[in-house]
């Protein structure tokens, strides 16, 4: 605020320039409400709306979209009722003849029943009336909401126009970062938020993504019951929109939810004192909501079926292959999402990975199915060809009963079959593909690396990347399954949920209560195996799994270059950037302290870049390892040399185009590509002037990909060093892989078996009986550690009798057998220091440390 409006100043002013003894000596100028945007009551909603309007490309687009949606709803219901009641199908199928005076042709209106018959049929059908009432209520609700939204968004529109000085027509072409920068700018003038003089990007993200961050964190800590072990299907994930809606209803906004309003958790949930009572209350609420779901189940089910029918039949008819296509599952989106990542950022990232991901999945087509599909396609194809040929010869063939339908069916059949026949020119190289996927999706469980060609990896990946048909099926099943999950699974977790919200909620001034993970504080939530070694003070319960904190931090820092993180965090970011940079420039890989890999004398970054030959496009031509390595080195080096923090993205652009070109050279003369890349990169810097923020943000994602790959690579090497920790922590899931001996035999990579399993990819949730009911958990951390411990302890108790035996069989032996001793000793310095005490402790007690604490 440039001008200070306290009484004090006014007095001060009066001293200076008022001649005494006059009346009305002092005149003030009213500033008035120049803007109506100062001090907005509900900033959460406000920012969400600003974001939504931006994502929906402006007011008009949004308005039209919503109006059409309303019309569509009316149409769906009306058309269904019409089809069911007002059509005389006998006429359509020509079972009944219509007597026309003027012509013998049957017209469509002939098939319609007269209105009075029609309305009588509707009136006498209780079910139809029921459907109509339900959908009428639903539609009215939507309509009121629509009116309300229009009013709200009109205000946001004027905010864009008057305060942000952006017209609606330029909105679709402005990036969110631009909009955000303007919001940060006008805060200084209008003071949207009264707590702070200046808003940061993180504040805006926190407000928009407050609840999403909680959901991401809960999925990350496997708190939500979305993974199940079913008797026939094995392990599967069930997370639908309906279920998500219910979770949000229970936690965030429903009546009696944990949150008081958008921005603050109810105070009683912040205190640990009566957590058991609160958990009871939550459990009973979940029960009621589950029962309500059960009661409403027929209505929702009906709605889902209708909706699915009308939205997908047309698509299936047009493109039957689309059912065989895949999409990122809802769970996948939650699992892969960074903290503080907006929808459009996530979607663009996942879309970039889509191609590689579907290629990867196609690598695993079952050969038996392929043979069958080929033959079915052959026979169906020959029938179809004959029918079509006949039709071309004489149209009347179409008039023969069922010819048209058989042509359609055969066509569908062939398309389906074709999706099971792999592309002739495709080469099986899952490991590389998975690298490319990783470059975009940024997360994957540790045990996938080196196991990309295995069927389990594929199965687990398919949980993230499911068939569209499966997606639709799950959505249809959702109304039935949701109440069951709520009542039988979520209810048992109520204590854990209460603890989670208590332990992981922090109050930030000017933002309110947010998920503490979303602060991306390495010290509080860093994972030692993910480069925050020595910087983190988090207990296992507090650590985010899969390096989520670190990767989210990098992602946020890269997408928002103007953001100024706290000092420690800045240190971490610059250190990491520098490391990546140094890796790129450091020519001699052997001398580098980070190249821990025993067998490969290649630089770390070169190594990781060699996997995916380019980040932009996937190229499978290179088979020979030597060429591969050389190309990777030069490409990677040139790409990363330009990663200087100042103009990273600018140069990156040039070098990446070079990488493209270099990869096009396939396996010949790779030595030249390095110089090639450098020249191109220097040439492209002349374009700098033309680069807009859009270009910058595009290259930010590439930069992030490199960082993500680097961090995964480093993590891989680090986790080789401290296997012990992970094998204890995730013993249960490790054992599941041990139970398949033939895979291990077929696995050439010695480390693959030992890879620590990710926490978010463990087997099913721990049994609720393991939840300690001891009331010792008054402090956050102590109760926190309890949460994690039972998982491993119950797992072990279930599988084998004495925990000690199991430990020595599972953890110790494998490690000493598989990891070369030299490597272990060498990695000792790099390995976390506090693991050694853990080792000693365990050897004394013959028991993994955290199990020890439970007992």
């Amino acid at each position: 605020m440039a001008h200070i409006d306290t009484e004090y100043q006014r007095l001060e002013a009066s001293y200076s320039d008022s001649p005494p003894g006059e009346e009305n000596l002092l005149m003030h100028v009213a500033e008035g409400a120049k803007s109506q945007w100062h001090h907005i009551e509900n900033l959460d909603l406000f920012f969400q709306r600003v974001y939504n309007l931006h994502q929906k490309n402006g007011f008009t687009c949004m308005l039209m979209g919503e109006i059409f949606e309303l019309i569509q709803l009316l149409f769906v219901v009306g058309f269904t009722v019409f089809l069911a009641n007002c059509v005389d199908y006998d006429v359509l199928f020509a079972n009944k003849f219509v007597n026309h005076t003027d012509s013998s042709k049957v017209t469509l209106p002939d098939a319609f029943l007269p209105t009075d018959v029609c309305s009588a049929r509707i009136r006498h059908n209780g079910f139809v009336i029921f459907v109509l009432i339900i959908s009428g209520v639903f539609w009215l609700h939507r309509f009121v909401k629509f009116i309300y939204n229009v009013c709200c968004y009109w205000e946001i529109r004027s905010f864009y126009i008057n305060a942000l000085k952006m017209t609606m027509s330029e909105l679709p072409y402005a990036t969110w970062q631009e909009v955000q920068a303007r919001i940060v700018e006008i805060q200084k003038e209008h003071q949207i938020c009264i707590h702070k003089k200046e808003l940061t990007e993180l504040d805006i993200y926190h407000r928009i993504l407050r609840f999403k961050n909680y959901m991401v964190a809960m999925v990350n800590k496997s708190l939500l019951p979305v993974r199940f072990r079913l008797p026939v299907l094995g392990e599967c994930v069930f997370y639908t929109r309906g279920l998500k809606y219910n979770f949000e209803l229970i936690f965030f906004w429903g009546p009696g939810s944990l949150f008081e309003n958008e921005w603050s958790l109810k105070p009683e949930y912040k205190r640990g004192g009566n957590r058991l009572e609160l958990a009871d209350r939550l459990a009973s609420r979940i029960l009621w909501i589950g029962i309500a779901n059960l009661l409403l189940c027929p209505v929702i089910l009906l709605w889902q079926i209708l909706n699915a029918f009308f939205s997908y039949t047309e698509v299936i008819k047009r493109e039957p292959g689309s059912l065989g296509a895949r999409c990122w599952s809802l769970y996948g989106r939650c699992y892969l999402r960074h903290f503080n990542e907006l929808d459009h950022e996530l979607m663009s990232r996942l879309s970039k990975g889509y191609k590689a991901a579907s290629k990867y999945m196609n690598c695993f087509l079952s050969p038996v199915l392929t043979v069958v599909a080929k033959n079915v396609a052959f026979f169906a194809g020959s029938l179809l060809a004959v029918l079509i040929a006949l039709t071309i010869y004489d149209e009347d063939v179409l008039a023969v009963e069922h010819v048209l339908s058989s042509i359609t069916l055969l066509g569908v059949c062939i398309t389906v079959c074709r999706s099971f026949i792999p592309d002739k020119h495709m080469v099986f190289c899952p490991e590389q593909l998975l690298r490319v996927i990783l470059a975009h999706i940024h997360y994957m469980p540790d045990h996938w690396q080196g196991n990309a060609h295995r069927y389990e990896t594929r199965d687990q990946f398919s949980q993230l990347f499911q068939y569209k048909a499966v997606f639709i099926l799950e959505e249809l099943l959702s109304p039935v399954v949701t109440p069951i999950i709520l009542i039988f699974c979520l209810r048992r977790k109520s204590l854990e949920i209460i603890d989670f919200f208590r332990n992981f909620t922090v109050e930030v001034i000017g933002v309110g209560d947010t998920c503490s993970f979303a602060q991306m504080d390495i010290r509080q939530h860093g994972h030692p195996a993910w480069m925050s070694e020595g910087k983190t003070e988090a207990s296992i319960y507090q650590q985010a799994e899969d390096g989520k904190t670190e990767l989210s931090l990098m992602h946020f820092a890269i997408t928002n270059p103007h953001w100024q993180p706290p000092l420690e965090t800045t240190h971490f970011i610059s250190q990491l950037k520098e490391r990546v940079h140094r890796e790129a420039t450091g020519a001699s890989a052997d001398t580098h302290p980070l190249s821990l890999s025993e067998s490969e004398p290649r630089s770390l970054v070169a190594n990781l870049l060699a996997g995916p030959p380019t980040l932009g496009s996937v190229h499978f031509g290179r088979e020979s390892l030597t060429n591969h390595a050389a190309a990777g080195m030069s490409d990677g080096a040139s790409a990363l040399r330009s990663l200087s923090p100042v103009s990273s993205s600018l140069h990156l652009r040039g070098s990446l185009s070079a990488v493209h070109r270099a990869s096009g050279l396939t396996s010949r003369a790779m030595a030249g590509s390095g110089t090639d890349a450098r020249t191109v990169s220097s040439g492209s810097s002349a374009w700098e002037g033309q680069l807009t923020s859009l270009v910058l943000s595009e290259y930010a994602s590439t930069e992030m990909s490199i960082h993500a790959l680097y961090m995964h690579e480093l993590h891989k090497q680090q986790s080789r060093a401290d296997l012990s920790r992970h094998t204890w922590h995730r013993q249960e899931s490790d054992e599941s892989s041990d139970s398949i001996p033939d895979e291990v035999r077929s696995e050439p990579n010695t480390h693959s078996r030992n890879f620590p399993r990710s926490h978010t990819f463990p087997t099913t949730a721990p049994s609720p009986s393991a939840i300690p009911t001891s009331a010792s958990a008054t402090s956050g951390t102590s109760s926190g550690q309890e949460r994690v411990k039972p998982q491993s302890s119950t797992g072990q108790r279930r599988h084998s009798g004495p925990t000690t035996d199991h430990f020595s069989a599972g953890g110790n032996v494998t490690r000493s057998a598989r990891v070369p001793m030299g490597g272990w000793a060498e990695d000792g310095q790099a390995a976390p220091k506090h693991h050694e005490p853990l080792l000693e402790e365990s050897s004394e007690d013959e028991m993994p440390p955290h199990i020890h604490k439970v007992i």
């Binding site: 200070i4 009213a30 001090h39 009264i194 309003n261």
Partner: protein
């Protein structure tokens, strides 16, 4: 909420409640009031004068300064005595909270009523104690006086910070920022509410209102 909130806590005897509350509320209002605005042409205005007045307390060793406006005093006294009665009705050792909320009105378009958006909230938590004998009362009398002095300094410190205040309005908008109903003084729009005991359950009406709003905002 986009609103500063300050919490003051005091422990007093039942007979001191009224004076203690008056002292704190008046102290805050003293700093949140101006003289009447007299608008001239072109959006300029002059500010009338405001007198101040020292008030001595009967049951506490304490003197506070308030705006010398009988009208304002009457309004505050009414609210405080209501609070005191409500507190007295609950029993001897009651807990209560009185809040002074400064807000701004925002004109809305037709379907909605005017919004009152708070920008500062002062919550005074009162803990009423029972004292056994006269000596303890005497000590309490001094102690409460000291405590109130500290609180007043607290209040002044908070107010001295350069934080958000509504901008000075033009003539047409003055009702959206200031309470212009009083003749001699013009405080920022304020609202005094109270709550007896530490009951955390919000009232039915607010819950309903939120429910409706939530459904609409889906």
């Amino acid at each position: 909420m986009n609103c500063r909130s300050e919490v003051l806590e005091v422990t007093v005897e039942a007979r001191q409640v009224e004076e203690a509350m008056l002292a704190l509320l008046h102290t805050i209002l003293l700093h949140r009031s101006t003289g009447k605005f007299h608008y001239k042409k072109e959006g300029t205005y002059s500010i009338g004068t405001v007198g101040t007045q020292d008030i001595d307390c009967d049951f506490i060793d304490f003197t506070f300064v308030r705006v010398s406006s009988e009208e304002l005093d009457r309004v505050i006294r009414k609210a405080v005595s209501e609070f005191k009665d409500a507190l007295g009705n609950t029993g001897s050792d009651g807990m209560g909270q009185i809040s002074l909320e400064f807000y701004q009105k925002k004109k809305s378009r037709w379907p909605f009523s005017d919004e009152c958006i708070p920008w500062e909230m002062w919550s005074i938590k009162v803990n009423v104690v029972n004292l056994a004998n006269e000596q303890e009362r005497q000590i309490c009398r001094e102690k409460v006086g000291e405590k109130l002095g500290e609180k007043v300094i607290n209040v002044v410190e908070v107010i001295n910070r350069h934080e958000y205040l509504p901008k000075m309005p033009t003539q047409s908008e003055v009702d959206n920022v200031f309470d212009t109903s009083l003749k001699d003084v013009q405080p920022y729009l304020y609202k005094i509410t109270y709550q007896i005991t530490d009951s955390l359950g919000t009232s039915v009406s607010t819950t309903m209102r939120r429910l409706i709003k939530d459904t609409l905002a889906l």
